[in-house]
Symmetry: C2
Amino acid sequence: MPSRRSKLYPTPEDAETAFYEAFERADLAGMMTVWAEDDDVVCIHPQGPRLCGFEAVRESWVQIFAGGMSRLKMKTIESRKFAGQSVAVHAVVEVLSVPGQQGPTQSVCATNVYELTDNGWRMVVHHASPIPEPAPQPAEDVADSPRTLH
Amino acid sequence: MPSRRSKLYPTPEDAETAFYEAFERADLAGMMTVWAEDDDVVCIHPQGPRLCGFEAVRESWVQIFAGGMSRLKMKTIESRKFAGQSVAVHAVVEVLSVPGQQGPTQSVCATNVYELTDNGWRMVVHHASPIPEPAPQPAEDVADSPRTLH
């Protein structure tokens, strides 16, 4: 297994590519090479709890990759990028599909945050949530609902 | 109404404080003063679709504030901050409560992204999703589920 230091992502885009490649391959070592080894990293899987810290995030990927994810293909579309010198944010739509099946299985919106560390750009936040289906409620329903959070 | 230029948030924290104050007051003008006037801003309300662009975000707050949100109180806890020179990210937990009622009504995790613009720090991404209740599934259930997205 290559050492973590051997993976120096020179750009946030490189880190993001590695993240989704590791996801598709269910590659735990590859996935955790992308993440900053930091107690403050945050990962929110779709409809999941808020996980803080490298170890909690690692454990979640152990569980996810044990669940048969390796057949899924992922592409990202509609990326909106906010690029700083040491912090970069990519707000993307993830489109998941199963090879051999027609159409996407699900779309997820994700906010990916990368930080420039001593070991290159690393992921520090991955916040993912399902895009609701069917289509959003008509405006009048939203306005009438006192339980809408925000 | 003050012009948008009169509100120059000198730090991401100032912009965040203004965001949550505007939320509590259901103050549309205040809310939209926080956001960057940009086609690339992204807002995802809990369980909502992905909204892109200042006008779409504005319209969503019009609908939300028409829904009786003004009685809610909001505080943020467990903030994790990633601060760059021109891009800053605050991953927070929002705790909403109704004055006079015991306990929080709901907790939401939010990833807030701020960018330094010509008009000070402005919000460019607000990604919010409900924290699931009851507690997360046991590990073996997650591992057994082929439908877990990631």
